[in-house]
Subunit: 438 residues, 2 copies
Amino acid sequence: MLSGELQTVGTGSAQRSRVVIIGGGFGGMFAARRLRHTRVDVVLLDRETSHLFQPLLYQCATGLLSEGQISTPLRTMQHRQRNTKVLLGAATGVDPASRTVTAARADGTTFSLPYDYLIVAVGMRQSYFGHEEFASFAPGMKTLEDALTIRRRIYSAFEMAETIANPEERAGWLTFAITGAGPTGVELAGQIRDLATLTIAREFRTIDPREARVLLFDGQDAPLSSFGRKLSSRAARQLIKLGVELHMGTRVVDVDGGGLTATDGDGIAVRYPARTVIWTAGVEAVAFVRTLAEALDVEQDRTGRIAVNPDLTAPGHDNVWIIGDIMERDGLPGVAEVAMQGGMHAAGEIHRRIQGQSREPEVFRYRDLGSAAYISRFHALVKVGPLKLSGLVGWVFWAVIHLSFLVGIRNRLSAVTTWLFALSRGRRMERAFPQRDL
Amino acid sequence: MLSGELQTVGTGSAQRSRVVIIGGGFGGMFAARRLRHTRVDVVLLDRETSHLFQPLLYQCATGLLSEGQISTPLRTMQHRQRNTKVLLGAATGVDPASRTVTAARADGTTFSLPYDYLIVAVGMRQSYFGHEEFASFAPGMKTLEDALTIRRRIYSAFEMAETIANPEERAGWLTFAITGAGPTGVELAGQIRDLATLTIAREFRTIDPREARVLLFDGQDAPLSSFGRKLSSRAARQLIKLGVELHMGTRVVDVDGGGLTATDGDGIAVRYPARTVIWTAGVEAVAFVRTLAEALDVEQDRTGRIAVNPDLTAPGHDNVWIIGDIMERDGLPGVAEVAMQGGMHAAGEIHRRIQGQSREPEVFRYRDLGSAAYISRFHALVKVGPLKLSGLVGWVFWAVIHLSFLVGIRNRLSAVTTWLFALSRGRRMERAFPQRDL
């Protein structure tokens, strides 16, 4: 170890319990905030300096919002919370015996963090279901890097088409294939049609961007199947109206630089030429979760998640909570709301113990506050309990929900301003990108 | 050639003369605009999709402005100008005999563009004076990639320092060395001190970001020497007041991952540990200019520039203009203003010939409208003829000048809003960055 270990978190607080939170996403952020008035020292460890508001990543990828508009530095978020220290590092190990987390800096050197209580909220990454070779052809949609890569590929594809005379080749550049018709896939599909038919519609001389084809592939029978049959079929109608071509009930079996191959229900394989392929089909736990599972001697499911106790602790470890997308509990979905409530629950449990309350661990009860997906300008789906909204009403709800969770008043103001500019004529202010593949 | 050539630019205009402009920077952009009402078909060829407002690149690199706030898509800028076609491609060759430009697409395939008149405005890239090995340690400041790399390195350096106990190592991460004390170097130095003492001053628990050292190296006796002795010494005083350490009259002879070595006037070499080194020391013509010079059979100077005729045409080629940073004429500096006026001059000459006016080529006369450099909040230098401004008055002039040239009304509005937010408390909205080295 090059640089010596960090001895204790904070100074002059040997009597205070130490909480380490790994991951500054929705779960870790809400856990840290819930501990604001608890007499503990908190370390929030993350691989990135900023909390990413992932639900709007597709708007960054399509040139509507900047990276800064969908991110807030963890430090800025936490700097008034005096009992919390933010550290940049990738968790590399956990030792439950010595109660220590090991983390790596950007240069590969490591440091360690002692803990009394540990909350793990490291999240998922894109999964190619064992076909890692697809990744270079079909970027995922999980990180800012992904968003800038996709931004570059989308706008560059139209540029390529503009200079190419061969009709078949040109058609390949004007075809965008998206795997996965969950919210991310649907939102991307809608945005690409929106930008082709509005933003850049009149900017080319040779091609007509409005002819761009967007193909959406999914194994389910309909897009947004988690929203239930009624909203799902409304989404399908709206997408078709937008010009998105739905290939439901298909399985993508091959991807390369020229397109993808998908099989239908009868197993018949069809080749779809498309120079831009975007992969939103599946997720799996990040690599650290395997290390964690081994250290804690617990099982992982097929996607790498860890089944937790009813109070969200890891089996056999009453001071380690596993929350957010990487926890498996009652089939709860990997959405922001589950992570937030899980984070608050874990932090609440720690708070209770610090207060000396000795009753039984509290069972985590998830309150489903609903879900929402954006389809296109003025069209969104919202499901809140029995309430099902779509079209303009859904869109207004969607905007309110997303603004209320977007961190920081300036991010909100700037998103609203940008949306108002964009809604009128489809203008997008963030079409610039670094030239190289990220 | 995979994709067939583009036959003619535009359609049904066999009688119209064809103008090819290579480069969509200030020179190329002003040339294209000047040809708006001329009966020619214009192709504007660029390696990037957006015009970059380079004078504010340092504000993008330090997390103040987004990429979109300092860029405008060339297509958006030109799409109402019906005689102009924008194409994405890197110029790879010129054949003056057949009057053809060859360009490469992103995938390496090529296409060709016939021309009757050619304007070359491809600009300069960072030069390491033959020490290309410095580049990986010390990024330059010419492209959006550079800006995002520098943004990542600056903010990550503070993060590294926060987790490191060893005082010497920590000091290395808190030291930022900048080579070159021209406007870019001075502006970056000021911004780094601004962000350390304002933006992030209270966000850390272990380090005090205000202790960050910024070292500025230059071979000249004073920073901003091109502004003349009086403004130059005011700049030096202001930089010192900000906490920037000036190392004037030095030559940087080595750079590695741990810092740099510089020799002073007596040739004594001193090692300066600094984990972040940024290179703004020199520029050279991009690689294409060598190809061009060989094709036209003209000479390049030490930095790769081509000496041009008084009307800015290349020697021996009365239908080829070389403008902007890559032209050598009367020692004119490589600044935006020279490029803009050069672009308008070349386009004006083409216009005159199309009109059938047969008088002698007009000599290019540069009107120096002055220069400006930002030092820190409320401090900028402006030199307009005999007028020399600094401090707050200079800053107001600086803002007006930059806003008037920032392309597009929305970019202006959004820059003003951002500056107002930032000025009050040093807030920076664009601190997010992709994690990988670009």
